[in-house]
């Protein structure tokens, strides 16, 4: 008994130590956001101090921060909605009206996601330049929609396939036509899956840091690009930068925590469930 108890203790301490070490940088940033600029660069780094919301106030007072935040929201949510619009019928047909081609189509969609963005950087940049889509929310939304489409289709497909066949058959025996089957049976049963798919797409879009850095400059820049613009160290603004960063990552952190399980399904294309 004593041995198991001490083993448990070691386990708990080890796990917590690792968790705290891994989380530390984030923790430190959040902490810094509540400091004054002077404290933020103090050596030795201070753990205890008088917290202040000055950093947050200043950041939010900047009109362009709000604009960038809004850009992130618009682009993430917009691309997700568009992707869902196109993906739901596709996934439905693959799950319930399969043809011999279905499997090939699914795998091909998967392969398009594996295209390295940098490989098509040049043409996309030139096309966007010529179409006037550079530094535009529309352009970025379209790119994100296309980037996430394979994952969205895949996740929805696996959720649709999870609906047991007999339940739909029982519905048919009860007299449900296709529309009723979708409305009364399919939608209620797959809504949680559709929601987590949407959340995953939002997370991936929000954090995307290639196209957002290369296709936008001032108007359509989302938060990723805005934060990147502070890459040269200037010392006296870390508290504000921390505040801005904390606000930028907070929603996604929470969303990510909530959708852990479904993320695994989506990120591994169902290979690990």
């Amino acid at each position: 008994m004593n041995q198991t108890l001490s083993k448990k203790l070691v386990l708990t301490l080890l796990a917590w130590f690792i968790a705290l070490v891994v989380f530390f940088p984030i923790f430190w940033m959040i902490l810094t956001s509540f400091k004054t600029e002077g404290e933020a660069v103090a050596t030795p780094p201070s753990l205890f101090f008088d917290p202040t919301l000055a950093g947050y106030h200043e950041v939010m007072a900047r009109a362009d921060y709000v604009k960038f935040a809004l850009n992130s929201v618009i682009v993430s949510v917009g691309s997700t909605l568009l992707a869902l619009l196109v993906a739901i019928p596709a996934a439905y047909s693959m799950a319930f009206l399969p043809t011999p081609r279905t499997r090939g189509t699914l795998l091909w969609m998967l392969s398009t996601k594996m295209l390295p963005p940098v490989g098509v950087l040049m043409p996309i940049y030139l096309i966007f330049r010529d179409l006037g889509l550079l530094d535009s929310l529309t352009g970025l939304t379209i790119v994100y929609m296309l980037m996430n489409l394979p994952i969205v289709v895949w996740m929805l497909y696996t959720f649709f396939k999870d609906v047991p066949r007999d339940i739909l058959e029982a519905g048919r025996m009860d007299g449900a036509g296709t529309l009723q089957e979708v409305l009364y049976l399919l939608m209620p049963l797959t809504l949680p899956g559709i929601a987590s798919t949407g959340l995953l797409s939002v997370i991936l879009s929000w954090n995307e840091a290639f196209w957002s850095l290369n296709l936008t400059t001032s108007d359509a820049a989302p938060l990723t690009a805005f934060i990147a613009s502070f890459s040269s160290p200037e010392g006296l603004f870390w508290a504000k930068l921390s505040a801005a960063s904390t606000m930028a990552i907070a929603p996604i952190l929470i969303l990510g925590w909530m959708t852990q399980k479904q993320m695994v399904r989506g990120l591994t294309f169902g290979a690990v469930k």
């Binding site: 339940i167 058959e169 519905g171 025996m173 049963l189």
Partner: protein
């Protein structure tokens, strides 16, 4: 009236023929059981009747009308699925009333019909629960209730008891029999369990490899199996089989030499049998009796005592025999015993597996389970 007729039904999946020409007739208010080993096609047959699979060729007729092209909901049938297939996001009441809701029946009337069915199945105080809050037996009753509410002409059951534990299964068997009596409806029931078939059916259809092996009442199948497969499938423990040599055949039956040397005349129609032919003798374990002067002998290998009966597993020079004896038998493992049987209880099967016809039919074969309230009864075959 709810009669079913299947004419030469064939079902192909790609290149394989799963159902190879099935003819069947189900009378009004009959309880018919499709039984057979896994893969025999019984579930496929049921699904074709339901409309969930289409027949590759042949006619399905309900009350004389051909319904091959009619959709599952319009056929007026209801099905109870093996997994119950309850709608997980709806309450018991909504589950049972779903078909009515789809048909546009007003709420008050729906509730009334659901309550009626709930009363029959004792589900009244479960109406507000969701399926995940119900036990296996309760879910099954909800599935049956859903079917009852539709007031179908024929009930279809797809192995409904196979997901229940043994005790519950016995209980539900009795409830289903009671239900059949109370609702007075035609029921078609699929199972792989021959005990369920024997205890519940008015008529059993034994299937193997997509072909109907025999159709008949439980007693008919038990006493007069048409071939070796049916003989071995029906009855538990399984029938004993051994090879015997024909000595002669006359109007009294066929005389054969048993293992161990003795002779026995079995009262069956010898047909073309010649002395020297090899036949298979079949005798059920419950028809073997321990007899010190018996023609057969063996050593006890395993004893199973159930209290009321005792099963003895015997080894006779490599041949295996099962004997079901009275519960008070006092033998022990490794004992040598002698046993025999009444010739009238034995069966003989030719090389092609077909049984030689009995000279006398068993008295219980034509007794119906209950008074059939429909107009004509009479011979099923």
């Amino acid at each position: 009236m709810a009669t079913l007729e299947l004419n030469n039904i064939v079902k192909e999946f790609g290149d394989t023929q799963v159902i190879k020409g099935v003819d069947l007739e189900v009378k009004d208010r009959e309880f018919v059981v499709f039984v057979g080993p896994s893969g025999c096609g019984k579930s496929t047959l049921l699904r074709m009747i339901a409309g969930l699979e289409s027949a590759s060729s042949g006619d399905i007729k309900v009350d004389g009308q051909r319904i091959n092209e009619v959709g599952p909901a319009e056929r007026g049938l209801a099905m109870v699925f093996q997994s119950y297939a309850l709608y997980p996001h709806m309450t018991v009441e909504d589950n049972m009333g779903f078909s009515l809701r789809l048909a546009g029946v007003p709420k008050a009337e729906r509730r009334q019909k659901v309550l009626e069915a709930a009363r029959i199945l004792q589900l009244e105080n479960l109406l507000d629960r969701k399926p995940k809050a119900l036990s296996g037996g309760q879910r099954q009753r909800v599935a049956i209730g859903r079917a009852i509410v539709r007031n179908p002409s024929i009930f279809l059951f797809d192995e409904p008891l196979s997901n229940l534990d043994a005790a519950l299964r016995v209980q539900m068997r009795i409830e289903l029999a009671r239900l059949h009596d109370e609702l007075d409806a035609t029921m078609i029931y699929v199972t792989h369990d021959q005990i369920e078939a024997m205890t519940m059916a008015d008529k059993i259809v034994v299937l193997q490899g997509g072909v109907v092996e025999q159709v008949g009442s439980p007693m008919e199948l038990y006493h007069h199996p048409r071939n070796r497969f049916v003989a071995g499938f029906i009855g538990s423990p399984k029938m004993n089989f051994t090879e015997v040599e024909v000595l002669d055949a006359n109007a009294e039956g066929v005389s054969v030499r048993l293992p161990g040397g003795s002779e026995c005349r079995v009262p069956v129609d010898g047909g073309d049998c010649r002395p020297g032919d090899t036949l298979t003798l079949g005798i059920r374990p419950e028809h073997l009796t321990l007899d010190d002067q018996g023609p057969l002998s063996g050593k006890i290998v395993v004893i199973e005592r159930l209290g009321g009966v005792t099963s003895l597993y015997l080894d006779a020079d490599g041949d295996e025999w099962i004997l079901v004896a009275d519960g008070d038998v006092s033998h022990r493992v490794h004992d040598a015993v002698r046993f025999g049987f009444e010739p009238g209880r034995a069966h003989l099967f030719a090389e092609d597996g077909l049984a030689l016809a009995s000279l006398e039919r068993h008295p219980l074969v034509n007794v119906e389970r209950k008074e059939n309230r429909a107009s004509t009864s009479g011979d099923d075959h």
